[in-house]
């Protein structure tokens, strides 16, 4: 789906305004939202891909009208509601009225160092050889995914060139929807600027995306 998060090439957001004094957090609640989101991940109700999808499923009004951590907070509320870990009534009242589902998976403070320090690798053994090789000409799919995808709309249905094979990685398109990891070969694909943007492109520029095998077809 082409959601509000799919920003590449859009206009109207103004200058970048880099501010060297900008702090990592602008308020105490932003710190809490970051920590709470990562801590709730250990409950195991959703994958990283599903949490990204929860953010892009916010309405355009909510997405564009919210700060970064505001988006995170709304998505976290929705994930907890969807998976039944909290109820709408509890969220509205602030009072506990239903038992928790997975309190045994609460992340202990002693696990923080290893959870953050190890992360969660997404490379998997391959079940078939890679279909493409560096140098191959490919075209990205024209299909607009009905759900989560990591193919940006600016790079949909465009000819490009494979420049690297990253390995075989978990497919976000299924992993975000409880349809399993279904790992696929992942490629770096390069598109010359003029292929994406026509005459608007800056000369000598190109954009690269990481594309799973099912995003690509031969030319």
């Amino acid at each position: 789906m082409i959601g509000p998060q799919d920003l590449g090439g859009r206009a109207g957001f103004g200058p970048v305004a880099p501010d060297p004094t900008d702090p990592l957090f602008h308020a105490e609640w932003e710190r809490t939202v970051l920590g709470m989101t990562l801590a709730c991940g250990s409950l195991g109700h959703w994958t990283l891909d599903e949490s990204r999808h929860a953010r892009e499923c916010l309405s355009p009004q909510a997405y564009y009208g919210s700060t970064y951590y505001g988006i995170w907070l709304q998505a976290l509320e929705n994930l907890l509601l969807t998976h039944g870990e909290i109820t709408a009534e509890e969220l509205a009242s602030g009072t506990v009225s239903a038992p928790p589902l997975r309190p045994e998976r609460k992340m202990p403070v002693t696990a923080v160092a290893s959870v953050l320090g190890t992360g969660a690798p997404v490379d998997r053994p391959a079940s078939a050889p890679a279909r493409f090789a560096p140098g191959d000409a490919v075209r990205t799919t024209a299909t607009v995914s009905p759900g989560h995808t990591r193919l940006p709309s600016y790079a949909r249905d465009k000819p490009g060139t494979v420049v690297a094979i990253h390995g075989c990685h978990v497919l976000p398109d299924t992993n975000a929807h409880a349809q399993g990891e279904q790992p696929q070969w992942l490629y770096a694909v390069e598109f010359p600027g003029h292929v994406l943007w026509g005459d608007t492109a800056e000369p000598g520029s190109s954009v690269l995306i990481d594309a799973w095998e099912s995003y690509l077809g031969p030319i």
């Binding site: 609460k106 923080v112 600016y154 954009v207």
Partner: protein, 214 residues
């Protein structure tokens, strides 16, 4: 460049009931609910944030860059297998499980972005700055990278290729900036001190103090 309104102080001017900022209140409400249900521990939340503030940050990336500048074997390892090379320095973990290094040279300049969210190599650069996560950078850098670089005060030679890497997978990219001229006398530590966060995103260049980067 411009003033951001910050809402990080208590609003003492809001009358006798001293209301919280609405986002502060909404966050506290959810946190309280989760703590009371036994699903999160406030000490865990604090430990996560502290780790993000202290364990990771651009000084880690600067060590990788400086080592690549002085140690050709390490630079080659970084090109072939950045994940293993960077892990060997003790930098690893969440949002850096799979790494690739992009070497700037006289012909090519690399820039990283995540147009779809905010993917960023945490282990070597820390949490991303606000501008990296915000719509202006995410929307524009893929279509007009040189105009965006100009807003960072960076101008590249006209003939230089500009490659913008959109982080659409769990691969995380680290730009290895060009080593500035006249730094032969500097050791690895002194070199690392020159390396800025933005130079490892590709929105900056490395220069000696007092010299314009070019």
């Amino acid at each position: 460049m411009h003033d951001h309104p910050h809402h990080d102080s208590p609003h003492h001017d809001h009358g006798p009931d001293n209301r919280l900022d609405p986002m502060e209140a909404r966050t506290r409400a959810l946190e309280t609910l989760l703590v009371e249900k036994g699903l999160v521990d406030p000490a865990t939340i604090e430990a996560i944030v502290q780790s993000c503030e202290e364990r990771i940050g651009p000084r880690n990336g600067a060590r990788v860059v400086a080592k690549a500048w002085v140690d050709p074997e390490f630079a080659e390892w970084l090109k072939q297998d950045a994940t293993a090379a960077i892990n060997s320095l003790g930098f690893a973990g969440r949002q850096s499980e799979h790494l690739a290094a992009l070497f700037n040279d006289a012909e090519t300049h690399h820039i990283i972005v995540c147009t779809l969210c905010s993917c960023y190599p945490w282990a070597v650069l820390g949490l991303p700055p606000s501008w990296y996560k915000s719509p202006p950078y995410r929307s524009r850098v893929v279509i007009e990278p040189r105009k965006v670089l100009a807003e960072f005060g960076v101008e590249l030679p006209e003939e230089m290729r500009v490659r913008v890497w959109d982080s659409t997978s769990e691969m995380r990219y680290l730009v290895i900036p060009q080593r500035p001229a006249n730094t032969e006398h500097l050791d690895e530590e002194a070199l690392a001190a020159l390396v800025t966060r933005d130079s490892m995103i590709g929105t900056g260049l490395v220069s000696l103090p007092g010299e314009a980067a070019q």
